[in-house]
């Protein structure tokens, strides 16, 4: 295993990368610094040091406190601050990428330096490449906020560099806000709330459209800086992410818990225990993944239940149909219409 697993107790976030930006935003919105930091292991003097870090748990605590500020713009402004953070070589490198594909590859590879709590799976459809955003570990009540943040970050990036953000499509799991007018100006594209998946639909033609600010030399220089940072901040992935990516890779065959554990280099009982600590289980993760994929495939409206069943590793369509009903409470045909 080249990539280490991290959990909530890992000190894997540099304060300068995201935490200070969040704290500044919250303070300008009337939050009190010592109340925000109360109970966390972040101290005020750490904030000015360039290499101090915090636990992933503290990041979630801070996000939870900032969510209570009644400022619906916060995830969007925070995404803006992350994308233009001068202390973060990764975000400096992104505008210099040759095209969207190069930019997203860079963001994907170094994502632990910006948002370690989120990972993506890519699906292809006729018109779109679909990025499925998923939590890399248990994010608790902050999951909606973090996925909204990641989605806003991607959409802003694409809108700014291609100018064609209106061609995107966004699906979010979170419930529709009470006043859509408050945030509608932040989404250049149609957004549907209360969906079964968090997904970003990017049209194929945007992927290799050259970017105006592309600069090969600077891009390389920034990438070198990112690699150097990797020495201090090694690549780590959340447990959910590692397991779900393994499951995704072996689909349609089903990867048993024992096989997954041996891939991670530990016993199945310790994987079970680690998952239990995060309030989840191996079967739940597998179901979650299959449910998301089934939803995406159904929305394309091309495949029959039989084909879906074989793609997702079910023995026949009846089993698939029954499982789908268990996940969503609906029969597969209810989703088969193209999403409006």
């Amino acid at each position: 295993m080249t990539v280490a697993i991290f959990d909530h107790n890992e000190k894997n976030l540099l304060l300068q990368h995201s935490v200070t930006a969040l704290l500044h935003l919250a303070q300008r919105r009337g939050a009190c610094l010592h109340k925000l930091l109360h109970g966390t292991q972040i101290f005020e003097q750490d904030l000015s040091r360039p290499d101090s870090r915090c636990h992933h748990r503290d990041w979630l605590t801070l996000l939870g406190r900032c969510q209570q500020l009644a400022s619906p713009e916060l995830p969007f402004i925070l995404a803006d601050a992350l994308l233009h953070n001068p202390a973060l070589a990764l975000s400096q490198s992104l505008p210099k990428a040759p095209h969207l594909a190069g930019c997203l590859r860079q963001l994907w590879y170094f994502r632990h330096q910006m948002l370690p709590g989120v990972f993506t799976l890519v699906q292809h459809t006729e018109q779109y490449r679909v990025l499925l955003l998923k939590p890399a570990l248990q994010l608790g009540p902050q999951q909606g906020f973090i996925l909204n943040l990641a989605m806003a970050l991607l959409v802003q990036l694409i809108q700014h560099h291609t100018g064609r953000g209106n061609n995107l499509r966004v699906q979010l799991k979170q419930a529709a806000p009470s006043h859509p007018a408050q945030i509608s100006s932040y989404w250049p594209c149609p957004v549907s709330f209360g969906q079964p998946v968090d997904a970003l639909y990017i049209p194929h033609e945007l992927w290799f459209q050259p970017w105006p600010e592309h600069h090969a030399g600077e891009f390389r220089a920034y990438r070198r800086a990112c690699y150097q940072l990797n020495r201090r901040l090694p690549r780590q992935r959340g447990l959910f992410e590692i397991l779900q990516r393994q499951l995704y890779r072996t689909m349609p065959a089903t990867l048993s818990l024992e096989q997954a554990a041996s891939l991670l280099g530990c016993s199945s009982s310790s994987v079970k225990r680690l998952l239990q600590q995060q309030g989840s289980s191996y079967a739940a993760l597998a179901d979650d993944l299959r449910c998301d994929l089934a939803t995406l495939l159904l929305c394309q409206g091309k495949l029959s239940n039989k084909q879906l069943a074989s793609q997702l590793g079910y023995s026949d369509e009846h089993n698939f149909r029954r499982a789908f009903k268990r996940w969503t409470g609906n029969v597969p045909s209810s989703l088969r219409l193209p999403v409006s």
Binding site: G30, A70, F76, A81, Q182, S185
Partner: protein
């Protein structure tokens, strides 16, 4: 208030009169020397207090369950005390027990009824306090304030606008909406950082509050968009205010630049806040198109 209690007042008067007649019928007047004036003073005061409870209750409270209990309680007490006072003047024959019964039985019953009524009053007041608190929250809740600009947010805007629209429609007065949007704010944020953007929003909110009239309600509509509800204002007057605002905004600089803002105003014709705001958004888009500014060029300072 007392008009709705006429029947209760009449009943009280009739009862007291009946008690007086009954007492006069049964007893005969004492001789002057046998009257104890000190007793009369004490019992007179007690009767006066009971009667004042009765009248205060009926003067101040609307009809209802709690009022009834308080009324019957104080009525029974008054009757009992009135008979008590009367027997200082009259002597009843020893074999008639009616008067002594009538004197002593209603007093404790009245006390009980009064206490029960007071308990009801306590509960009623708690409910009213809760209701009042709810109404206050609706009108002045700090949680409806936008934490950054300290202006009211969308919840408040919808509530106020719906109420004002209904009121203005009723009185046939004009109501205008002014919508202001910062042009190229996302680009400004990108170039100068979110801190500069936030500071600009704060100073813009301060400028709006100082330059608009006292009666205008200013709210933060979305990230870089503000709405003012101009009460008793016609379109022409609103446009003068908008022009004045545009001039004042020229003085507002952020990071060495003056940002351009688009302003649109409309006179409300619909009755729903959402419809009116949609109309204002359309007007704003039209005014943006009319005064299409050059595209933001970082570093040129042409905004």
């Amino acid at each position: 208030m007392w008009q709705q209690h006429l029947d209760k007042l009449t009943l009280a008067a009739v009862l007291l009169l009946a008690a007086l007649l009954l007492a006069l019928q049964l007893g005969d007047v004492k001789s002057w020397a046998a009257i104890d004036w000190l007793d009369i003073l004490g019992e007179g005061i007690v009767l006066a207090v009971a009667l004042s409870w009765l009248t205060l209750n009926l003067l101040n409270r609307p009809a209802g369950r709690v009022t009834d209990w308080l009324y019957y309680g104080s009525l029974l007490l008054s009757c009992s005390f009135a008979l008590d006072l009367l027997d200082e003047f009259l002597r009843y024959p020893a074999h008639v027990r009616t008067m002594s019964w009538l004197e002593s039985v209603p007093a404790p019953l009245g006390m009980l009824a009064l206490t029960y009524g007071l308990m009801g009053w306590h509960q009623e007041q708690r409910q009213i306090n809760r209701q009042l608190r709810g109404r206050e929250r609706f009108l002045r809740d700090h949680r409806l304030l936008d934490p950054l600009t300290q202006l009211y947010g969308l919840d408040y805007l919808y509530a106020v606008l719906n109420r004002e629209l209904a009121l203005h429609q009723q009185q046939r007065l004009p109501l205008s909406i002014l919508m202001l949007d910062i042009d190229q704010f996302a680009a400004f944020n990108r170039q100068h950082g979110t801190a500069a953007g936030d500071n600009y929003l704060i100073s813009l909110a301060e400028l709006l509050s100082s330059q608009m009239r006292e009666s205008d309600v200013i709210c933060r509509y979305a990230g870089d968009r503000f709405v003012a509800v101009l009460v008793h204002t016609e379109q022409a007057a609103a446009e003068i205010i908008a022009l004045h605002l545009q001039q004042q905004l020229q003085r507002l600089t952020a990071a060495g630049q003056t940002l351009h803002c688009s302003v649109a105003c409309i006179q409300a014709t619909q009755t729903q806040a959402t419809a009116v705001l949609k109309q204002a958004e359309l007007a704003l888009r039209a005014s943006k198109l009319r005064g299409a500014r050059p595209v933001y060029q970082p570093g040129h300072g042409n905004l």
